[in-house]
Point group: C2
Chain length 204, copies 2
Amino acid sequence: MSDKESETEGLIKEAARKLFHEKGFAGTKTRDIAEAAQINLALLNYYFRSKKKLYDIIMMESIQHFFSDLVVVINNAETNFLEKLQELAIIYIDMLSQNPDIANFILNEVRQHPDQFTSKLGALEMAKNSVFLKQYTEAVKEGVIPPVHPAHFLMNFAGLVVFPFIVTPMVSVVTGLPRTDLIELIQERKRLVPLWIQSMLQVK
Amino acid sequence: MSDKESETEGLIKEAARKLFHEKGFAGTKTRDIAEAAQINLALLNYYFRSKKKLYDIIMMESIQHFFSDLVVVINNAETNFLEKLQELAIIYIDMLSQNPDIANFILNEVRQHPDQFTSKLGALEMAKNSVFLKQYTEAVKEGVIPPVHPAHFLMNFAGLVVFPFIVTPMVSVVTGLPRTDLIELIQERKRLVPLWIQSMLQVK
DNA sequence: ATTTGAATTAAACAAATGATTAAATCAATT
DNA sequence: AATTGATTTAATCATTTGTTTAATTCAAAT
């Protein structure tokens, strides 16, 4: 595999990840990364050649971090539909609690460069052939679930799990609750979201 | 009030709005705005003094556009809770269908400058004193609705209505459906979201 | 101790970018 | 037609920003 990265290489990546997640590519300046990592500016180009190449690495690792668990869970043949929902809610609320900007980062990237994302994400085909989707379409066939487009279900579940982390800053402003308190509140959703989704699946 | 804006002033604002919505402040270059508006670069500063002042105007108008209807609907004493949900779903899905990036634009801004947003949005106090919230807390008291924090409800409803427009690019990549098809599909949610929310309110 | 290559630094470069200037054109008024 | 102020233009300025260079320091091998 690749060589183990040096100390400074790691410092640069950590600083870059934080800043890219917060401010995006255009909003992050190489000098800000150097300052945050407490390294000489030239070392960025020494280790990563260019800002863009560094960004691509961070983006790749972020996508991998965000989707790697998903692929495992939705292809587990041992768990049923509801169990998968419960597991996913816990995993993703935990992940996003520790990394509140990663969803925004990835979604903004996909919005601006949808094409490149297609190639990067092999999980595309994964999802279409997943046990999860089979269980979903099966349930529709059996009449256990109403025939709404799977895209609706996807947007509902992702909306209930991911969206709170995207609106946290605004909800914080509107309610006056600090961001940390809201993230604490969001923990309740590990239990609630699967219940909500279940009840939604009764509709119509 | 203010003077009616000149022709070119409008051209600049329209181009700026589109680009700021798509690429944000740092990602939008003044030359890109000038080119998109088909005007001389200097006219941007002639009419708006600086890129930042132009951005502030666009941001202010976007926030106003996004929240002005909300304030009216949630303070309507003539409609009940469910009717408000139905009305809001229709209004916002229509608005976002015509302006798919406005939510992202505002949410990104709030995330990076939460403080300034507080002052800009007088709707803050509006929401706290709204008929809508009174009807919600009343329903909780009467036991019609389980005692979940209003912030959960806010995130649920916004998540079901707004989030689809935020993930549209990714869902498009994953499902292979064109963005326009997805926005067409999302129209169904004018009817579905209020039903879903209702069934969720039975939980626990 | 010397050598050698990697790592680090300060300085500078070149392009991009926001803003300004001074001259020109235009349009309305006298 | 002449005047006047607003509008538009081409050119330029000053700063920011990504990158490179050349010299220096460091650490390991001989």
